[in-house]
């Protein structure tokens, strides 16, 4: 059984005059433990697809199936619950809350679950430790570099131990060294914690480090290749 599956997915945005087929008849299966990338030119539907798979958006037609369960008939609160239990998000713009410090930002997903404060803080601290930022727990996002902010965002995506992490251009605003470290971190989490990563990127070098590369154009999959992910060594200059 796939972790998440899209069946004949369509997402059509209609305004008065024109229709945009952002996702246009797309089939896709992602299995547990995969480390894959989704590439394609700007406007090819990558973000839309990610939002559909992450149950943030509903398809115009087709189904998203999470662990064998069809989600197309579910209401908002059921979708929220499935999302909460299975899916973590990482965004290009980090999307940390500026009024919360690093630890509080990482804790946030746990706040929406019934969990004791002590347990919540312990798990948030562990997640921060995983991304190497336990020293910066008390810092606000404005006091952190872009790379550090994205690591906090990754810790936030991991803290609830979701099976699937969806990342939308996670390195889009980072320099090459930080890009390398973020990819390295995600790959380590994939290998050690068996978390599944789907990474949207338009950076083909980033895609080279994943084990599967899906290419979109005009809302359709034009290629879906399995590959040996390139080994990483961030101590050497990173190609970009």
């Amino acid at each position: 059984m796939s972790l998440v599956e899209g069946r004949d997915l369509h997402k059509i945005y209609s305004s008065d005059s024109l229709q945009v087929r952002a996702v246009d008849g797309l089939d896709l299966q992602i299995d547990e433990g995969e480390f894959l990338s989704i590439v394609g030119p700007s406007g090819s539907g990558k973000t839309t697809l990610l939002h559909l798979l992450g149950l943030l958006d509903q398809p115009t037609a087709g189904q998203v199936i999470v662990r064998g369960r069809d989600t197309s008939r579910l209401n908002g609160s059921d979708l929220t619950r499935i999302r909460r239990e299975n899916i973590g998000f990482i965004f290009q713009e980090f999307n940390l809350l500026p009024v919360l410090n690093a630890l509080e930002n990482v804790e946030l997903p746990l706040r929406y679950r019934a969990m004791k404060t002590a347990e919540r803080q312990k798990r948030a601290m562990e997640a921060l430790d995983t991304v190497g930022l336990s020293q910066r727990a008390g810092n606000r996002p404005s006091q952190l570099s872009g790379g550090e902010q994205q690591r906090v965002a990754i810790a936030r995506a991991l803290v609830a131990k979701p099976a699937l992490v969806l990342a939308d251009e996670p390195t889009g605003e980072l320099d090459s060294e930080n890009t390398c470290r973020i990819i390295e971190l995600m790959r380590r989490l994939n290998e050690e914690l068996h978390q599944t990563f789907a990474i949207v990127t338009h950076d083909l070098f980033v895609a080279d480090y994943t084990n599967r590369k899906i290419t979109l154009r005009d809302g359709k999959i034009v290629s879906d290749e399995w590959q040996e992910g390139r080994p990483l060594n961030c101590d050497l200059p990173f190609e970009d």
């Binding site: 943030l56 958006d57 609160s77 999302r83 965004f91 009024v99 919360l100 706040r111 995506a157």
Partner: protein, 390 residues
């Protein structure tokens, strides 16, 4: 959701836009401040009227046609009406009285007017004077001349005790008794005999040939006779008068507090409107500024209810803060004014529990109410749309 930690984050969010938050809170503060001060005034008035009810409602009050409980401006009753009223079956006694301001330049003072009341001391007079307990001395009695029975405020003002002599309108009077505080109008009354009152009245109006007149006549019913019915009978049998029954008296007094309370409610409604609109405006701005954050929270598992609760709490908090500060300032002003005007004994404002609690509860309610629409807007945001916003 750990409820305990929410307010901390909400306060930080409010602090992010300190200027705007502060202005919104000030908007509430101004309204609640006015509301508090007026409530203090209203509480004082109601207290006073409550006491006045006791004073006026143990008897029927007869005044000139067109008058109200407090007499008729420039019109008086002929003393012959006393006999006419006493002839009505069911009447036990009729007591003439005449009132005049203590000071020649009347009405200038703040607070309760100070009044000399000349009361007929034969018949039911002393009984009517016994409307409340004495602190010291005795009531006036039949035959007293040149004697005065003082309300507590006036006793304090004259700094006089029993058997001291006080001067009123240039005439010496000996104090025979002092009432206990009633916290109402009679605290500022000086009761003298009818004849003394009339003499003072004549002295004040030298160009005006005054026969024996009364400002009002207080009528006592015989035991077992219904005062309401007796009032109607008097009205029908005696010409050129207006008989005010105890119930009518209560109605007239209540009308005063009704008018004042209507003004209070009016001002509060304006405060409600202005304060509420400014909260709505601020909250809508907060929601649109934080659209992305709301999207993010929803993406990582916030349900509609927690987003709704967060924004409602923020809005309620603006109300609470505005309410507390406004009430605090209002109470402070009341305290200052009360001390400043304390010289003639009476407080102008009353600080009661409701004067303190009502504005705060009101502001909290207002804040919550004003937050409903913006909070619903936040809660209903679609996560994708919110995340695509920049």
């Amino acid at each position: 959701m750990e409820r305990g930690e929410m307010p901390r984050f909400i306060l930080r969010n409010m602090w992010r836009r300190k200027g705007r938050t502060l202005l919104t809170i000030i908007g509430i503060v101004v309204g609640i401040f006015a509301f508090t001060v007026l409530s203090g005034l209203s509480a004082r008035l109601n207290q006073q009227l409550g006491g006045a009810k006791k004073f006026y409602t143990n008897h029927i009050t007869v005044v000139p046609t067109g008058g109200n409980l407090f007499g008729a401006a420039g019109k008086y009753l002929s003393l012959s009406k006393v006999a006419e009223i006493e002839a009505v079956p069911g009447v036990r006694g009729a007591v003439a009285s005449i009132g005049l301001p203590l000071d020649l330049q009347s009405g200038a003072g703040s607070g309760t007017p100070e009044i000399i009341v000349g009361t007929e001391l034969s018949g039911g007079g002393p009984e009517l004077l016994a409307f409340t307990a004495l602190q010291s001395g005795r009531l006036l009695q039949d035959g007293d001349r040149g004697k005065v029975l003082l309300g507590l405020n006036l006793a304090n003002k004259f700094n006089a005790g029993v058997s001291d002599t006080v001067q009123m309108r240039g005439v010496d009077f000996q104090v025979v008794g002092i009432y206990k505080a009633t916290l109402t109008a009679p605290d500022s009354f000086a009761f003298v005999s009818y004849q003394d009152g009339l003499d003072l009245f004549r002295a004040a109006n030298p160009y005006f040939q005054v026969a024996d007149i009364a400002g009002s006549i207080d009528v006592l019913a015989q035991p077992g006779v219904d005062s309401e019915q007796l009032s109607v009978t008097i009205q029908n049998q005696v010409s050129d008068i207006k008989a005010i029954s105890p119930n009518d008296a209560v109605k007239q007094i209540s009308q005063f507090s009704l008018i004042f309370n209507a003004i209070l409610i009016g001002i509060s409604l304006v405060a409600l409107l202005v304060g509420g609109l400014s909260i709505i405006n601020t909250m809508i701005m907060s929601v649109s500024e934080r659209t992305r954050e709301i999207g993010l929270k929803k993406a990582i598992g916030a349900d509609t209810r927690s987003v709704l609760g967060e924004y409602l709490l923020e809005s309620a908090l603006i109300g609470v803060l505005g309410g507390l500060i406004g009430m605090g300032l209002g109470v402070a002003l009341i305290a200052v004014l009360n001390t400043a005007v304390k010289t003639n004994g009476a407080n102008v404002f009353t600080i009661s529990r409701s004067v303190i609690l009502t504005p705060v509860i009101f502001a909290t309610f207002l804040g919550t109410l004003a937050g409903i629409f913006p909070a619903l807007r936040a809660a209903r945001l679609k996560p994708v749309e919110a995340l695509r916003e920049d």
